[in-house]
Symmetry: D2
């Protein structure tokens, strides 16, 4: 239940961190889209562990295989199933956690919910679950780019106490983002973040962070009132990612402290379309895109699995000390960047198709 | 499309601000629940305009009528349809807005999406749409209270630049919240907020705010991985409310600046169940409730409709000045309190029923 | 749960036979469709009881009221809520049935399912539930007619042992169908049916029947593999009607006795499009419309509520004799005609919108 | 779109006949169910081609692999992904069909819908698509058997003009059904069917048939009014199978010719529960199971792909003669038996879980 997302562009993901494979089925992918594994692999490579000295050394090649829905390099309109094998399984790393649930992890809640759990703890809460999302998102993004010229770029805007100034959302590119291993486009902040991540690793600790994202080229009219408002779907999508604690669109929490006269975005003519002079709305008004860039931010908590000893309790409530073994990221936000982009693409592809139906229906 | 929310406890809302009625259909309400209009009306009364000197003087009685699904004071398990008449319609107030879309309102986006819009502007983006949610939420909440002893309390924790210290989430009650017209439980902050709202009204301006909410008594195990994580559904629910710009659960954005060793919630035995010593998780781990109180916050922007003149553009992109007429709240957060509670109840009732099915399925 | 139907053109019905109102909410109705109560009422009038000497004398005016979603005679694209009051309630008629469930009715199963039931017995299984469907179907049909030139005509092809020869599906009209109170377009068969219905009424008994339906003007390409095949959705729609026992498309059960060489529909050029020389496929191949008329048949059992005494058992399993009182149709098929048309329209409107999205998506 | 089925026990299938794999994802499978490939393989073996002299010689081993959702032989409650490789691909067999759509097949409609199609013609309309259903159905059936003691048995009751008398639905077993390669439990009819199938094969022709099915042990209360009536879901499920043309439950079309006094099923006490003396209702009343065996029948048309030459038209509408090559069943009903059982299991597992939720909700 609930491993599916979307109405017309509908993705179902599957897979635990330590099973045979992870992947997804995309039901509703538009037909006649040129598609091969090479279109999907780059975002998986940006997501995968072991990319740099600041991420987990768990080594997974994460090669995607298209099982169905594509022939002669074109999508057929039928379900596109994507599978990625799990290769580097070390269930032994999780031995102690059989009796002591990791604090702030999903070991306890999965056990409470299902009465059983994967040996690795919170199976579907693993970061590996996001592989299916990234693969599906790459397909969605390719379609959005080719059909609408849409661009999605995410970046790291905070890591621990280091924060980056806002870049120009109209211009930032993935190349600029990837220029630093932290995926923070501001060089000074990037250096501070890198240092903070290394310090956390040294201390067998972890730090949280913030990912920002802009979607450029979204036409006015996407998003469905009431429960399908575009920001509501984005919020659901982002808060469905592991380790997320918050979501802001446009002015966000800071906007709540403003007056309307200062917050409102005045309309201006923009070469044939109606635009806004400012963008505190974050590209969405009344749940519907207004043609301006969609801009939002997501808060990620520090990873729960840390190497230093923690005083906690075992499943029976007895005091215990846990020292997690295994390979874990001290900070997830650099690798979260392509995941956020993927979820944005899934939200937008679905909203686009629903609006295409309506526009065509009205004749 | 997308006026429905939930899987097993499923609500569909209908109605524009200036049509004949607003309301909802609840499909999947448990049978044999004692229910009458008197169970629903109190939350509608807390939501309705004209309650106090700080809200819009638009006078609506907002009396709910049960059209179906209840007989002899008991739900039948069949759809419960609830209807609330619109009485105080003044379409004339919206004359000028026919040619000039209100900045940061939904007039422009509804027109772009549908090629038509209600005379009152963004019809379904109106605050009156939330009446159906509040009515449905009152039913959900009654069931949650009787079946699980669950309690939901929201309050105003910020209005403009005035912010309240965090109350004790374990004890705060609606009576305490309602003791002040701002619905802020901290007397000093409440006074500052009231002053700020009056000042905004004087200036024909508006201010934003923050609503906080706690859900007590949620057992461990509610919430569905992956896209149905409990915080993801809460985020969708809250960002589907008019004028919302952000959502935080537990430690929220502040948590993103912490280290894991300081952020993790250690487990402790709590009289027969496993609890946590702190609650930075906000009652949810891995998308699933852990038995601790669920705590979250929502940012509301300042209302877009303000009386003072605004430089903007008309639908054709020509410069224009708009002075909105009509009756509008200078600050929505006091009235948003029961709406937030209603959406929390809808999320939790649905999650509860899905988990009841699973628990019963596993035998 | 499950009072909703459709994905993009989505209808939710509500209401018991003896509550305050019945009706529906249409979420996803295309915007800018000219719509008033006068567009909906005619099909409700064809459905309502008391039309002729062969239906129940229960007298309901069944006047539809549009509660939302329409302004100045145009749909807004927002939910269209339709309500029809229940006026002629006589709960007293159902007294004896409080202890004795009617054989082959839903009294027993509703009690088993919900642990409670409406005083009228199987509340949502009542024929009055279909009012919401007919109202929604009239809206769907208007859109299909205006947007695609589509025509839907149903008729009675069997009543008890009387069966009518197949009419020319390309030409049959509602005017021809309505020329006889049985809604059978074959005069001789119609007379036999009328006699059979009168005989059943005289005997305080009831008879079953068959309704046939043709949908003309459906373009090739509607219907979604796999579980959304057009015939699968039609079958679900029709078997969701009260008292139905069977569904056939095209050659139906007779086709199961044929050889492929005799059953296959050869393709032929038809003025610019590819058509078929015969139509044993019933207008659908592989779950997708092929441009030929869609033709299907539905079997209705004899109504379960009959006036003559029946030996049965009470809820406790003790032998009992039941003589149903109240006003009941001896044969439902004449009034089922507009209901079948409505469900066909709902299936097709939804399939149309989904295919419009895909066609637009492929660019 | 629409490759998913079910609400709480939700299956998504993927795969074309000539791609890399076919399979499914089951989202919502109850946790702690003992499950291995050996539980699934037997029904796939009953479905697979090449079992006997009367089916297609296409040789596929159809070995299922569990990709996720199971650890240490128990389901985790997370998505169970099942994959079955396609091994025996011979796209060359479909050469001529590139320009000539097979009559009554899906080549034309897939092309019309998607503007592209698999080289094998109607990709997802292939019988191989049903593999994912059978695999998922085996899982559903195992849960239903262990949790409720439920039994599902289908058999061939008609092939071409040969029809079998109705067996005792209370006693028929799969062992009896499988005793003859036709899967008809009546020896005389089975011989006639076998002869008819051989004759059709000799003539490079095909024949249709009828599959009947009984579900024993379904408790009263499953099935959701209105659009989720149990017979409506069964009808959708069965009409979603390739080559189906009709569905009947209980008395079916024959019931439409009866009087109510003869058709009604009188209630009788049956050892502590209320049962019926006859079962013309087919185990369902008002859309809800009544505790009696659920009995239904499905009509399958003769396979469209036949070896003998057919006069038809090419895609451009020009007259053409088609002689299909490749390996095709002259009659699908023997192999359809496990597919029908699978779809019945999927419908019932989902209905069971929804009713478990309701029963638990009412407390």
């Amino acid at each position: 239940m609930s491993s599916s997302f979307g109405t017309l562009f509908r993705v179902t993901t599957f897979g635990e961190s330590h099973g045979r494979a992870v992947g997804c089925v995309i039901d509703g992918c538009p037909p006649r889209l040129a598609l091969s594994e090479a279109d999907i692999q780059p975002q998986l490579d940006r997501r995968r562990p072991g990319q740099s000295g600041i991420s987990t050394p768990r080594d997974e090649k994460d090669r995607v295989v298209i099982l169905s829905g594509v022939e002669s390099g074109l999508t057929l309109g039928t379900p596109v199933a994507l599978s990625i094998a799990n290769r580097d399984q070390r269930p032994g790393d999780y031995g102690e956690m059989a009796s002591i649930p990791r604090p702030s992890h999903a070991d306890f809640t999965y056990q409470a919910k299902y009465g059983v759990r994967a040996s690795s703890g919170g199976g579907r809460s693993s970061a590996r679950e996001t592989i299916g999302r990234v693969a599906a998102g790459a397909v969605a993004e390719k379609w959005l780019r080719e059909r609408f010229g849409l661009e999605i770029v995410a970046w790291v805007s905070g890591a621990g106490e280091a924060a980056a100034p806002e870049p120009d959302a109209d211009r930032i590119t993935r190349a600029v983002v990837d220029a630093h291993i932290t995926r923070c486009p501001d060089p000074a902040a990037a250096s501070a973040m890198e240092a903070a991540i290394h310090a956390a690793r040294e201390a067998k600790d972890s730090i949280g962070g913030v990912v920002s994202c802009v979607c450029r080229g979204v036409p006015a009219g996407w998003g469905e009132p009431v429960f399908g408002k575009l920001e509501a779907r984005l919020a659901q999508a982002m808060l469905s990612l592991p380790a997320t604690k918050g979501f802001e669109i446009g002015s966000g929490f800071a906007g709540s402290r403003m007056r309307g006269s200062a917050h409102n975005d005045p309309f201006v003519g923009k070469g044939g379309r109606l635009g806004t002079a400012t963008n505190r709305s974050g590209g969405i008004q009344g749940g519907i895109s207004n043609g301006e860039p969609i801009v939002f931010r997501i808060a990620f908590k520090p990873p729960a699995t840390i190497g230093q000893p923690q005083r906690t309790a075992d499943f029976d409530g007895n005091p215990a000390v846990l020292e997690a073994k295994g390979r874990h990221d001290p900070c997830v936000v650099p690798r979260a960047v392509p995941i956020v982009e993927a979820m944005a693409a899934l939200v937008l592809a679905d909203a686009a198709m629903v609006q295409l139906a309506r526009a065509a229906a009205a004749g």
